[in-house]
């Protein structure tokens, strides 16, 4: 298949709009050719993950673009970095690496990207609408954009995200196109109690299991009550993009391209049908923990960044209790959400109760946690999946309620009752 370009793409390749636009267009067109795309399409927004420092190559690339005067052509948000600019007291990393990280962040701001520093750009005031073509990076944001917003993005990452933003163009391939958005795998739940399905904790566990079962296919979850909340869909998607490479899922009655099972399948027969039992969910929950040691030192919530509603729920669960001595309790969120919950008085209540608010970054790859001995607890399947490898700590996965109760008493306690039937 040959790539067909428009006149403006050809002009940019010839250097008509300067060296930065030429380089970005070269990368997008070469990527399109490598993907087997037959053309490029216009995008209306981008979310960039290249701003997270991990090595010289990304910094060299940003320098090259910014030095040549690159500017993004579409509204562009920035993902987490490896620094918490609002809470520098959290920093425990290498100062030289911190300097390079900061430099990288500045270069993206110079190119006109908004310093949002969040992995949950869908929690910002403006977000893509149904059917909008965008170029998003960050696996949880990609799956949310496609599945929950009905916007259209491929799984972009380093280099590609910023080149799409600078050109306003993306390869016409993959999840940008109708034919790749239909579900090919049907997931049905069998014998899972209504009580478990009514709990937040069910959704990251189900997502982790789905990622393992489907890899990079597009699944549809059938048989749940319609109207599952955005926060639950977010947790499910983030988990499935960690244990697998899911870029999009459907849930009948809850996601916009799945009013019915038939709509999600776009009239095709499913390639595969999988039944998930209560025992499967129980096993998936167990796989998210690496220890049974109840010596709790750390609790980390907010991966992906907590929403206003999730922070409100945390405030409610804590009530007037405090985090026990010897337990460090972190909540990661976006700076915009922190601003909002500060106005509500919730942030100061949490801080007074012994909670540390983390913004702009995340605790699963940035050295913030001081004590990596003992057990860390989280309500995030994504955090549970990555943190042991990145930080060298042991983790117990639990519900948000479990995390709060454990933090208050100073050791791991989990409500096994909801899993008893499993």
């Amino acid at each position: 298949m040959t790539l067909r370009l428009e006149t403006r793409d050809e002009a940019r390749l010839a250097g008509a709009e300067g060296p930065a636009q030429r380089l970005a267009t070269r990368v997008v067109t070469r990527l399109a050719t490598a993907m087997g795309a037959d053309g490029l399409l216009d995008i209306t927004g981008a979310h960039i993950d290249s701003c997270l420092y991990h090595g010289q190559a990304v910094l060299d690339f940003a320098h090259r673009l910014a030095d040549d005067g690159a500017r993004v052509l579409v509204p562009t948000t920035l993902n987490v970095s490896s620094l918490d600019l609002l809470h520098p007291e959290h920093a425990r990393g290498d100062p030289e690496e911190a300097r390079l990280s900061r430099r990288l962040m500045e270069r993206f701001e110079e190119m006109g990207c908004r310093p949002t520093w969040t992995c949950a750009p869908y929690q910002l005031e403006v977000r893509p609408g149904f059917g909008e073509q965008v170029a998003w990076a960050e696996s949880n944001a990609i799956v949310f954009a496609n599945s929950v917003l009905g916007a259209r993005t491929n799984r972009y990452g380093d280099f590609a995200d910023i080149c799409c933003a600078i050109t306003g163009r993306a390869p016409a391939a993959g999840l940008h196109l109708d034919e790749h958005r239909r579900a090919t795998v049907v997931i049905r739940l069998d014998g899972v109690s209504a009580d478990l399905l009514a709990r937040d904790v069910c959704y990251p566990v189900l997502g982790g299991l789905i990622g393992r079962l489907v890899g990079k296919a597009v699944p549809v979850v059938d048989g749940l009550e319609p109207g599952v909340s955005e926060d639950r869909l977010k947790a499910l998607g983030a988990a499935s993009a960690s244990t697998g490479s899911v870029g999009m899922f459907h849930m009948v009655g809850s996601t916009p391209e799945a009013p019915t099972l038939e709509a999600a399948l776009a009239g095709h027969e499913p390639g595969k049908e999988i039944t998930v039992t209560a025992a499967d969910l129980r096993a998936a929950r167990d796989r998210l923990s690496t220890t049974s040691d109840d010596d709790l030192r750390t609790v980390s919530l907010g991966t992906p960044h907590y929403s206003v509603a999730e922070i409100g729920r945390l405030v409610e669960l804590l009530g007037d209790r405090r985090v026990a001595d010897g337990v460090a309790f972190y909540v990661s969120t976006g700076r915009d959400v922190l601003h909002e919950v500060s106005l509500l008085g919730w942030a100061s209540r949490l801080v007074d109760a012994g909670v540390s608010m983390v913004t702009d970054t995340c605790t699963y790859f940035t050295p913030i946690i001081g004590d990596v001995t003992g057990t860390a607890m989280t309500d995030s399947a994504k955090w549970a999946y990555y943190a042991p490898g990145n930080l060298g700590l042991e983790v117990v996965f639990g519900s948000t309620e479990d995390c709060v109760e454990s933090a208050v008493v100073g050791r791991v306690v989990r409500d096994e009752g909801i899993w008893a039937g499993a």
Partner: protein
């Protein structure tokens, strides 16, 4: 799109020669490859500890995070990348890392989708040459397992 056609598809075109390292399982470059020496560091990968630098890496497809592109680009910059990567399927994360290395540093690491029969014949230890059109030639006197 015909990924497994009869002719090779160079995702990044160039020439290379080297000894084949065939991976038993797909590798995520992010978290799986260190770029100072060019070794596999993913503890869950069966070939952890193997050196990829300068070898012709044969793998069915890539796995894992899109940050793999920058790891590949960094390895090419540092001179610790494979001589070439030969795959059975397209992989845009791997291709992108090599594309940017060529654009920014002028260093070419060929990435080729190889037809099925040729792919199956690529054994660890064989000396191969990759042509600019993606053809892979096995040297007859230096084959066999390492």
């Amino acid at each position: 799109m015909p990924d497994r056609g009869a002719t090779p598809v160079p995702l990044v075109a160039g020439t290379a020669t080297g000894e084949v390292l065939r991976l038993d399982e797909p590798l995520s470059f992010w978290g799986g490859l260190e770029t100072v020496e060019g070794r596999i560091i993913d503890q869950r990968h069966p070939q952890v500890g193997e050196m990829v630098a300068g070898r012709v890496l044969v793998m069915p497809f890539g796995r894992g995070s899109s940050s793999g592109s920058s790891v590949i680009c960094e390895a090419v910059r540092a001179g610790t990348a494979p001589a070439a990567i030969l795959m059975a399927e397209r992989d845009d994360i791997i291709a992108l890392g090599a594309i940017v290395a060529e654009e920014v540093y002028g260093l070419v690491m060929p990435v080729v989708v190889v037809p099925p029969e040729a792919f199956e014949g690529l054994e660890t230890g064989a000396m191969v040459a990759v042509g600019v059109d993606g053809t892979v030639t096995v040297s007859p006197d230096a084959g066999g397992p390492a």
